[in-house]
Symmetry: C2
Subunit: 151 residues, 2 copies
DNA sequence: ATCATTCTGCAACCGGATTGCAAACTCAAG
DNA sequence: CTTGAGTTTGCAATCCGGTTGCAGAATGAT
């Protein structure tokens, strides 16, 4: 179990070597499969399920997708979103070129199309918690209807 | 599917008749099993899982616990918390004697003892969401270490 | 008492998550 | 280039919480 390391990547223009480097930076040995899965995660603007990944990547067995995602989590490369009926969804930790920062952001779950969107612009203010509770991380999920489904 | 109705109950001093009334007020027929399950929910200060309930109440089959909880949800008596690895947890909507109010509150998930606590005192401020997203309801879950497990 | 409706326990089912295991692969040492 | 230890992978089996089908029990109105 790694502590999350902050590098400054420009996620928009990553070639294969950059991806290998990204894995190495997190202490993960680069393999063909892991690069494929990493690319798929990187290409998705929204959190995705293991199911999504196994469907999209027909060449890799679901057990390997599962173990790869576990590895990525252990090494602080991805984290999970619990999205109600959608089950657990995965997304990359992204620190964009504006420099390292935690990219905690709320997520929006559309009850119609079941997609989960990242609300990157919405900042959650610090809350004051009761004494004695040590906070590690928070997650905020809102349910509703997305713009596409409303129209 | 009911709209949630707000009554003013004093949850601290409810006898059997009060519980039957609570069910009736939500359009749920009172049965022996339902009263047992309702009591168990009421006695818990924290959200609990279906597993917790079936373990605690050995006289009722898990299928009935499941269907009862579904009924309670449909009628706006309980709601669910998605708590990471703990799965879905149930808690009563509580409007205490201070009068009707929504009792939306954040929840704290202890990664050590796996309990989920209600952070009743912590109010989540209104966030401003992007255009086009219609918000129905939000849930806030923080992970960390609880006072007991820290000691 | 009768009958329609609802509730209940039991057992079976389900689907996603997880694991066991042997083959394939990697890579450093000889 | 071989060898062998350690790692990764696919496949099949398993697990397990949630869910459902169904027949008998309970309910409640006529
Ligand atoms: Mn996100
Ligand atoms: Mn609560
Ligand atoms: Zn939608
Ligand atoms: Zn704890």
């Amino acid at each position: 179990m790694h502590l999350r390391i902050e590098f400054s990547y420009n996620f928009a223009i990553m070639n294969n070597n950059d991806l290998e480097q990204l894995l190495q930076d997190h202490g993960i040995k680069a393999t063909a499969n892991r690069l494929i899965i990493l690319k798929a995660l990187m290409n998705s603007s929204r959190p995705i399920t293991m199911q999504d990944l196994t469907d999209e990547i027909e060449s890799i067995d679901k057990s390997n997708v599962f173990r790869t995602l576990s590895t990525f989590r252990e090494h602080g490369l991805v984290h999970v979103i619990e999205a109600c009926d959608e089950g657990v969804m995965y997304e990359l930790y992204r620190s964009d070129s504006n420099g390292p920062h935690n990219d905690i952001h709320p997520h929006f779950h559309c009850v119609v199309c079941h997609k989960v969107f990242c609300l990157k612009g919405v900042t959650v203010p610090k809350l004051n918690y009761p004494e004695g509770f040590d906070i590690l991380e928070g997650s905020f999920l809102v349910n509703g209807i997305c713009p596409e489904c409303k129209a």
